[in-house]
Symmetry: C2
Subunit: 223 residues, 2 copies
């Protein structure tokens, strides 16, 4: 994935931040170190004060970039979904066969993230662990509807919609393309979580990953 991504910027809804963190060195440090800290200590223990100390800066300076840590989480997860979307579009674009195209798409969105250094200040492996462990918390709030209207979840929604469209291309008669698409995305995060913490509740592990499970599931459903 390295090649093109170096010159691509993932566009995030500018209502999510006060000041674009990509626009300065301090902003990039905020992103870089918050990924390290949230993946290490979890979202609830993470605070702007601690982040300030870590980046050798001040709590008040961080507030100039993000209103609160919830918005920062929205930023990070949006970035992740945008990164996946880019890979999805780029990789499947040239595939004509609808089945192979959908297969490739499922592989991309369900696979375990391993190493990638396209964005120097963003550790995609740690970021994907944040998405697995914290993404639900970004929308399971009393403010979802307002924030959804503000467009805070557009990238994720677009990703589900793209998957859904590919599903329909394979089988136009299938009645639940949206539900299946959202099940794949959300279910994949869940299976990844289960394999790390509730191994008895999943058949996924080192060798048999969530990708295999979902590839089999989807191909059977659309047959």
């Amino acid at each position: 994935m390295e090649h093109l991504l170096r010159s691509v910027k993932i566009e995030i809804n500018d209502k999510i931040y006060v000041k674009d963190p990509e626009s300065s060195d301090l902003g990039k440090r905020i992103i870089e170190k918050s990924i390290l800290m949230i993946s290490e200590m979890g979202f609830e223990s993470f605070t702007f004060k601690k982040l300030g100390t870590k980046i050798g800066s001040n709590e008040s300076s961080i507030y100039r970039y993000f209103e609160n840590k919830h918005k920062l989480l929205l930023y990070l997860t949006s970035w992740y979904w945008g990164w996946l979307e880019y890979q999805l579009v780029f990789t499947t674009n040239s595939i004509a066969d609808t089945k192979r195209k959908l297969e490739k798409a499922i592989e991309i969105v369900t696979k375990t993230t391993v190493e990638d250094s396209s964005f120097s200040h963003i550790n995609e492996v740690l970021l994907s662990s944040i998405v697995i462990n914290e993404y639900s918390k970004s929308y399971l709030t009393k403010e979802v509807d307002v924030e959804n209207k503000e467009g805070y979840f557009v990238i994720y929604k677009r990703l589900v919609t793209r998957l859904s469209a590919m599903i329909r291309e394979v089988n136009a008669d299938y009645k639940y393309p949206n539900s299946l698409a959202s099940t794949i995305l959300e279910g994949s995060l869940h299976q990844h979580f289960l394999k790390d913490h509730f191994s008895s509740l999943t058949d996924c592990h080192k060798d048999v990953d969530p990708t295999r499970y979902f590839l089999h599931l989807v191909s059977t459903i659309l047959k």
Copy 2:
């Protein structure tokens, strides 16, 4: 479901509470009102201080029942899963045909909760909305592994295991019974959430509920 449940007590791991809330009037009021409050204001805004005011009692008295609100959430959700498990076992027990048995099980665990007054102080409809909106937060923590070892999630795990066993009875060759079972349970909560907040990401709505989607999915997969 009314009949038998009146004389049944749902057993919750006694490490979850300091003092059994079922053992006193105050305890029952804590459960009753916390369900109302959490469903109304969301888990993050809910505090023991506010609950104290609501039940005409004192913050410090609530701490005699639960160490913190996280434990209270574990209690409430465990109760919910125990309640579902009871219905599952009771209803499917007499069904000999493995397919019909699994179908019935899926209906029970994925359906929208409507009215039930078996437990006077517990509003199952509101409780199910709490499970949909907050359950993930109970395990997406840095303490999962410790708490899992303490047995805080046994009821939920048992429910997944039961479903998984029924899946295997229908098709012993299917490779992912555990993943499918956990996908049904978690995915059902997710589809319910989507239909309320992200309707474009699901095909479920008033008439076509998550039950239909999962019934079709599972029957196709195990064919």
